[in-house]
Amino acid sequence: MKFGFILPVVVYVLAFFVYPLVQNIVMSFENFTATSFYTGRAPFVGFGNYSAVFQSPQFANAVEVTAIFVVASIFFQFTIGLALAVFFSRHFPLNALLRSLLLVPWLLPLVVSATVFRWIFNAENGVLDQLLQSLHVTSQPIYWLVNPSWALVAVIIVNIWVGIPFNMVILYGGLQGIPVSLLEAASLDGANAWQRFRHVSLPLLKPVTTVVLTLGLIYTIKVFDVIMVVTQGGPANATQTLTIWAYNLSFINFAFGQGAAVGNLLIIVALVFGVVYIRSTRFVRDGAVSL
């Protein structure tokens, strides 16, 4: 009888997680194309899709873009988030209100934020190029989204902006959990603010830091909306991460088998970090994952 309560979720997990993942593995060994949907036939090709993916010149590019995107995003999201968390740990008027307003970017649909940034980065009337020129930082427009190296910087900036609230909130919570008595003791022992932060707060924050960083990695590898809206992976594949490449292979080239193959590579990466995350959750309650 007890089992009745759990039956829906068992059916659900089988139907909407296990079955799709198995389908995806099957597809990655088939020459599954647009015609497969009509004929219902997709010839078995063994590791053909995987070798096609590995041999593609786009593979190395996608791995490099993904690595830069992930590392740069996480580094800045985390450091800025941590700085804000420390700053908001001070007591000052309107603290709680301003802190909750900082969450707004996180609650908006990503497509909306990304759309706004696309206009901010726009070449002709973009406010950022205008601002940089009027401040004499640059003498001419950067053409953010047209220039391949700046386009990657642009999507990273957007992604950092999106990730700051999450990092700040979790790290703020972690900082609040540090006993005030420890900080006071350190301060009585003559530790200055930086020493207190470096030698008391930071070490005690480590479990939370691990969770934030691993979750950050998992989310950043998945990022689709931001890049798709701001650059569509362009110009000249300069912002084509593995996720965007998998999308392009399946839904633009209709090479679903190859898209599935790239997807399965992604899943391996996500699961490796996932293990780190799940092992570190003993410090943390569940539920944090889908932020």
Binding site: V13, L102, L103, D225, D286
Partner: protein, 296 residues
């Protein structure tokens, strides 16, 4: 003990300001911090201001160099365009999001109850499966769901999007509800059994009312996940019949390249649910963001 020594050693006379002056200093420093916080907020929220600013400007002002920093000739014209172009998509998104929230709660509430209050051997494997499920990149789900939905002839239906979006919401809803229901006292649940209530009855009349806040949080976030979904909307629909607002906004950029005030007005309209939730349900939002993530 060493603290006392430290205190004596570090007690510099200059620090010992007059209590009143010290208080005044603290207050001044407090306001200085508030000013810094406002500046940070201004930088971080600038894109949102810019969205609203552009959405209120008439089309001719958009071509100005430098751009207008304030909508001096504010007009709601762009909102009219946005509503007529994307009103249907807003409605579609509303239906999908409500459907996703309902489906997610229907699955998550009994699951969380069973995992938290009934001793079940399956609880741990399910918990693990849901944790792993959250790690799966959505692009993989989209790839497989496209094939599956095509097979069951569900492409371009609201149902397909509800089912797909629920994969974003169900694990989160179960985990957050379970975390809450664990804290419901066993005695409360057991006393209901003693009174002869069935498990279902206990769930309905004891656990659900007690867990109201957590259920609202789970429902709100399920709604927001579905409302914000872009990938499933983009991949599982091929016609305009069931385009959600995120996809509508995306194609709006391409279709009306110069009509950025209309695009921004659509963006503002698409942000309304999040804004409303932040105002109306702030404490639930705060609960959901941390997701009970950090142990107090």
């Amino acid at each position: 003990m060493s603290n006392t020594i430290g205190r004596i050693a570090s007690a510099r006379p200059a620090r010992r300001a007059h209590p009143e002056r010290r208080h005044r200093n603290l207050r001044r420093r407090g306001f200085a911090n508030t000013a810094v916080a406002l500046a940070i907020l201004a930088v971080l929220l600038f894109p949102l201001y810019w969205m609203i600013n552009i959405s209120l400007q008439p089309s001719r002002d958009l071509l100005r160099i430098p751009p207008e920093l304030f909508p001096f000739d504010a007009t709601l014209h762009a909102y009219g365009n946005a509503l007529s172009a994307e009103g249907h998509a807003l409605l579609v998104s509303l239906v999908i999001s409500v459907g996703t929230a309902a489906l997610s709660l229907v699955i998550a509430i009994p699951t969380a109850f069973a995992m938290a209050q009934l001793r079940l051997r399956l609880s741990r494997p399910i918990l693990f499966a849901l944790l792993v499920a959250q790690l799966v990149p959505s692009i993989i789900m989209a790839n497989a769901l496209f094939k599956i939905m095509a097979k069951f002839d569900l492409l371009n239906t609201v149902l397909a999007l509800i089912l797909a979006d629920s994969t974003l919401a169900v694990p989160f809803a179960v985990l957050i509800l379970r975390a809450f229901m664990i804290s419901v006292p066993r005695e409360l649940v057991e006393s209901a059994y003693v009174d002869g209530a069935t498990r279902l009855r206990t769930l309905r009349s004891i656990v659900v009312p007690v867990s109201r806040n957590a259920i609202i949080t789970a429902g709100l976030f399920s709604f927001l996940f579905a409302w914000g979904d872009f990938l499933f909307g983009l991949t599982l629909t091929t016609t305009h019949a069931v385009t959600p607002i995120t996809v509508g906004l995306y194609s709006f950029i391409g279709a009306y390249a110069t009509d950025w005030n209309g695009v921004m007005a659509t963006g503002v309209l698409a942000s309304i649910p999040a804004a409303v939730l932040l105002v109306v349900a702030q404490r639930y939002v705060a609960a959901g963001v941390t997701g009970g993530a950090v142990k107090e």
